[in-house]
C-alpha cells in the first residue's frame, strides 16, 4: 500500500512549511506596552512554559536563517539574550521583540526557516499520534481476529470506526472510501489533538495559527483535485446545458468556487480555535486586571464553562473539517454511473 507513505511525507512537508507563523495581529497601541494576551496565542522562537519563582522554564528552539551573502546560519535562540537577560545580536542577526521576527543588523533580507514554537508543537502531537496508533496496529496484529479489543484499544477502535463509517463511507461511497480513510483519519486525529492540547497552559497554539490551517486546507485541495474524475473537470470547464455565450461568466466563477471551499475551511478552523483561546485567556486575565482574588468567585465558574465549551468546539471543528473534506473528495471522485 503506498498510501501510508504519502501521509508520512505530507506530515513532514507540513512540518517544513512552518517557516514562521505570522503573528495574527500587531499590537501597537503604545511602543512600550506589549500585548500579553496575543503573546500567548502567537508563534515565538522560544517555547516559554512558565516562570516559577523568577526562574524561567523555556526551551530555546533553534534558529535557521539564510541571508544572501552570508549563506545559512543555524544557532540556538538562546544566543539572542546575553547573561543578564538583555536582548543582543548574534552573527549579524537580532530578534525584533515586537513582531518576534529575526532581522539582519544591516537591514538586508533574511529568509527565516527557524524551528518555531508551533513547529515544535506539531512535532509533539505527531509523536503522540504515532505512538498511539502504531501500538494500536501492533495490538491488532498480535490478537486473534475474532476477539474484540478491550480498554483503551477499544476507545481508539471506536474512533477509527467512527471516521471510517460515518465520515468516509457515507460521503465518498462504497467504491473509493478505502483509499481516503487514512488521510481523513490523520486529519481528524491531528486537528482534534492539537485543539485539545492548545487548551493547556503553556502549550503551543498550533491550529489557532493561520499557517497550519492553510497547510491542512491545501492538503485537502490537493487530495481532492489530484484524484478528481473526468466528469468533475468536465463540469468545471464545460458545464452541460449552458448556452455558450455564458461561458466567460460561468467559468471564472467555477474556478473561484474551487478556492472558496478551501479558504472557508482554513478560516473556519483558525477563527474558531483562536477565538476560543482568546476568550478563555481574557476571562482569566480579568482576575489580573482587577487585582483582587475575590474576582475569582465569578471568573472561575465562567472559565470552567468556557473550557468545557472549548472541549466541545475542538471535537466539533475537527469533525467538521474532516466531514467537509470527505464531501469534497466524494464530489470529485464520483463518476457518472
Amino acid at each position: 500500500m503506498n498510501t501510508p507513505r504519502i501521509h508520512y511525507i505530507s506530515l513532514l512537508i507540513s512540518l517544513l512549511a512552518h517557516t514562521r507563523g505570522v503573528p495574527c495581529c500587531h499590537a501597537e497601541n503604545t511602543p512600550k506596552e506589549e500585548n500579553h494576551l496575543l503573546e500567548h496565542v502567537a508563534d515565538a522562537p522560544v517555547w516559554h512554559f512558565a516562570t516559577i519563582n523568577g526562574k524561567e522554564l523555556t526551551i530555546y528552539l533553534p534558529i535557521i536563517v539564510y541571508k544572501q551573502e552570508a549563506g545559512f546560519a543555524a544557532f540556538s535562540s538562546r544566543k539572542f539574550w546575553d547573561a543578564n537577560h538583555h536582548p543582543t545580536s548574534y552573527q549579524g542577526f537580532y530578534l525584533d521583540h515586537h513582531t518576534k521576527k529575526v532581522k539582519a543588523l544591516d537591514g538586508k533580507r533574511v529568509y527565516d526557516f527557524s524551528f518555531s514554537k508551533n513547529a515544535a508543537g506539531v512535532l509533539l502531537s505527531l509523536l503522540i499520534l504515532l505512538v498511539l496508533f502504531m501500538s494500536l496496529a501492533s495490538y491488532y496484529r498480535r490478537r486473534p481476529i475474532h476477539k474484540a479489543p478491550k480498554g483503551v484499544w477499544l476507545l481508539l477502535t471506536l474512533l477509527v470506526c467512527f471516521v471510517r463509517d460515518h465520515i468516509a463511507k457515507g460521503n465518498i461511497g462504497k467504491k473509493h472510501y478505502r483509499r481516503f480513510t487514512p488521510y481523513l483519519l490523520t486529519l481528524f486525529c491531528f486537528i482534534w489533538l492539537n485543539n485539545f492540547l492548545g487548551l493547556l497552559p503553556g502549550a503551543a497554539n498550533v491550529t489557532g495559527n493561520i499557517s497550519t490551517t492553510l497547510v491542512l486546507a491545501t492538503f485537502t485541495f490537493l487530495v481532492t483535485h489530484l484524484n478528481a474524475s473526468k466528469a468533475y473537470w468536465h463540469h468545471i470547464i464545460s458545464p452541460p446545458d449552458i448556452p455558450k455565450w455564458l461561458y466567460p461568466i460561468i467559468i471564472p466563477t467555477e474556478i473561484l468556487g474551487l478556492f472558496t471551499k478551501t479558504i472557508t475551511l482554513m478560516m473556519r478552523l483558525f477563527a474558531n480555535i483562536l477565538a476560543g483561546h482568546l476568550v478563555l485567556l481574557s476571562i482569566i486575565t480579568i482576575i489580573f486586571i482587577l487585582k483582587t482574588i475575590f474576582a475569582s468567585i465569578i471568573v472561575v465558574p465562567i472559565g470552567t464553562f468556557m473550557i468545557i465549551l472549548k472541549l466541545g468546539v475542538s471535537f466539533l471543528q475537527a469533525y467538521l473539517f474532516t466531514l467537509l473534506s470527505a464531501l469534497s473528495i466524494g464530489g470529485a471522485v464520483a463518476s457518472h454511473e
Binding site: C25, L38, R268, L316
Partner: protein, 73 residues
Amino acid sequence: MDLTILGAAIAAGIITLATAIGIGKIGSNALQSIARQPEAGDKIRNAMILACALIEGIAIICAIICLLIVVTK
C-alpha cells in the same frame, strides 16, 4: 468617542443577531421533522449539525474581523 470601535461593536451585534436567527430556524425545522418522523432522527441530526456549523463558521470569521478592526486601529 471613537467611531471605529463603535462601528466594530455594532457589527459584532448584527452578526450575533443574524446567526441566532439562522440557527434558530434550522433548529426549529429539525425538531419539527424529527417529531414528524422519529426514525429519520439520525439523518436529520447530521444535516442540522452540518448546516449549523457552516453558519457559525461565517459568524466566527466576522468576529475575528471585528477583533482585527479594534486591534489594528
